[in-house]
Amino acid sequence: MDIFDIAIIGAGAVGCAAARRLALAGCRVLVLEKGTDILSGASKANSAILHTGFDAPEGSLELDCMQAGYREYLGLRADFNLPLLETGAMVVAWNEAEFLRLPQLAEIARRNGVADVALLEAADLRRREPNLDPSALGALLVPGEYVIDPWSPFLGYARQAIAAGAVFSFKDEVLRGAFDGACWTVETVKARWTARHIVNCAGLGGDLIEQRLLGDASFEIRPRKGQFAVYDKAASRLVDAIILPVPTETTKGVVLCRTAFGNVIIGPTAEEQQDRDRPTVERAELQKLLARAEAMLPGLKDIPVTAVYAGLRPATERKEYRIRHEPDRHWLTVGGIRSTGMTASLGLAQLVARLILGKDSVPQDAPKPPVMPNLAEHLPRDWSTPGYGEILCHCEMVTDREVTAALASSPPPRDLAGLKRRTRCAMGRCQGFNCLGRLSELAGDRLAGLGEAL
């Protein structure tokens, strides 16, 4: 029987990063994913901010992983052709109480090793962000906070892992498993797999996986919904930096920032719910979100909303990351990875490798990182190179060449949503009004979600 060294459960941000790290270290890696694509659960809807960790709890594992992940991302991004929008962030104080907390935040930032923060008076703030509502009293400038593409890095990690021999099995939910002292046998909806170690990166299902395989869960997932609204690209001229609120005990709060794709987003909300599978958008909450964005940046009032979306964050009963390492049972859970997970993913992958392999692993330089197609708008896109046949999606300027390449790539898109995330087609202001017909003709027989032939 085919025995894997490591079975990773969940192909989210952490699962993809861990698969890459372990595969590059020479392990035979299996990734079991319940959904049809990578990043189909909690990782689907993140705010795409690369955090410095300036406001993370001092001395926490979260802070360590974020900062390790931040450094590794900056180191590898050029090889993967991954974008970085060097916006910086400003924690803006909108009232006296918040203003008085800024020096304290600056102090925490410095203790966290983020030394380049600076306090901005109202006049300074206005000079940098002239379109911000004049009621802003001041801000803490955090120059190292950046915006990235929330999707392509993880596709890149998965591709490199696959090139190094990792196997990804999609639509393959884990049902039960048994450990015989040396190996785990895992039964899924598709097959029976054998692996020496299990790494549980199941995100919103993290506690369920422990329940199913270990018989008990060391934490409880309490899904926290985050809704976002995306403003038309015209909005990106109104704001430069990531606008953060003064954080509270429980949440980083609602962020207003540009995206790598040239839009401006507002979100997320923080709504506790029971359901782990249904991140719905709600008109009333979205209206509140838009009102909030427009209060911060009044120019947004005249700008249409391009898209709305929602995701669920795998919060638990406690704030910190939930690591359960049982070397005897060859088990490692990396759970409760909330909003900071995208930044921390590479750092968490280092942690996983260290805990499982018992040493710091140095990834080999082969196979070479895949060169990811650039989707960011501040860098050359495919359409600026002559020789394509046609532009299929005019809002996001996606060429037929990009769509063809995405359809042939690995792991391949299985549905329209997968193609959208790989190319940005139908993600723009018309949401497919103009391009769905042509896309259905090109890819309808290969992708779910584009209808049936008549």
């Binding site: 609204a229 995306v230 038309d232 690209k233 015209a234 990106s236 001229r237 040239g262 599978d277 249904r278 991140p279 719905t280 958008v281 709600e282 008109r283 979205l286 209206q287 005249d302 249409p304 909303v305 391009t306 898209a307 709305v308 929602a310 708008e377 501040h378 860098l379 050359p380 359409w383 600026s384 002559p386 020789g387 394509y388 046949g389 046609e390 532009i391 005019h394 809002c395 300027m397 549905d415 329209l416 949503a417 202001r429 018309c430 949401q431 497919g432 009004f433 103009n434 769905l436 017909g437 042509r438 259905s440 003709e441 779910a448 979600g449 584009l450 209808g451 049936e452 032939a453 008549l454």
Partner: protein
Amino acid sequence: MNAPAAFLPVVETPAETADVLIVGGGPTGLAAAARLAALGVGRVVLLERQTETGGVPRHCGHSPFGMREFSRIMGGRAYGRRLTETALAAGAHIRLRHSVLAVEAGPSLLIASPEGVYRCRARAVLLATGARETTRAGLLASGSRPSGIINTAALQDMVYLRHRRPVRNPVIVGTELVAMSAILTMRGAGGTVAALIESGPKPVARRPFRWLPPLLRIPVHCGVEIADIIGASQVEGVKIRNFTDGSVREIACDGVLFSGRFTPEAALLRLSGGRIAPGTGGPEIDDHARTSLPGVYAAGNALRGAETAGWCWAEGRRVAKVIATDLAGAAADTGAIAVHAGEGIKYVYPQKLTAGGQKSFSHLELRLSDWICGELSVTQSGVCLYNTRISSGPERRVRIPRAQLPISGDAPLVISVGKGKS
């Protein structure tokens, strides 16, 4: 379309020269191209980003087109071809797969094509970029986001041009004429329609079109909004909430078609720094059809959302004539009077009236924001210039002849309609 970026390898030697550049090859752009070429303004070049011209009528498989233009009834695709042939025969040039990235001073256009990115200068530019339906996101409709949530245009494009059916039994949101068209498309594709839902108190489409759903036994729910869209990978149903009593009911369906509520495709002008009129969401124009960018005109559904193809065609021709006249001599316009949409008015265009030159618009064109039975009036500095009884509703043409407005001075005009809802 995106903002021009510093990285673009722009070919600076002109690959194209033109006297008039037209952006968009739908009925408006094609009609204007034909007229401009026939009027002898010089080289007329029409830029179309798709692989064929014809615009939205191309994928309206069943609607009658061409009565006004060619005195015969035609299908949408044949109509588009006929408009194209007419423009070419008149001497206009058509460039397919050409996307305009930005309107620059000159006027000049920054254009992306499969051959490369280039700039083209002209004496005048006409934006005829059309309109699109409001999306689910634009309406902030609640619920999940499975497959099967699309606009009517995408449905019709799939059915008529690609012979594919995205859904079998959708709910249609909206009751404008385009919703009735969607019903026919679904039937033509061997599907059914689960229900029509309308946020207003009654269907928007006129008789006899609004009789279509009852004739086909399709339920129409008015005064409701979408409370939830259900389904993980494909739509499985919608919940609708009644505005009056808050009651919620569920309708089984496999898709949601967001129809109508057309909004101008004005991103090019917006991103190029042109002024957008808040009411229409399209370019702010004067009565020549000039936008706030010098030398740049706009016409057709890019101005306001949906009008019929025939209306757009006629407008394209009128604006073409005015462009030709303006190019021939200095367009002497003395001052401009602003026109504001007041109480009960969703929008009005043109938003500015000038004194001199030939006009593209002999009327103020407006839409009401609600079903209203009352007094429509135009005032200037508190003086009533015009009033009339009106009983009308959303998406109905309401026109005020400019000749009947005794305008004096340059104070703004305010159009409003007195309350008294029907």
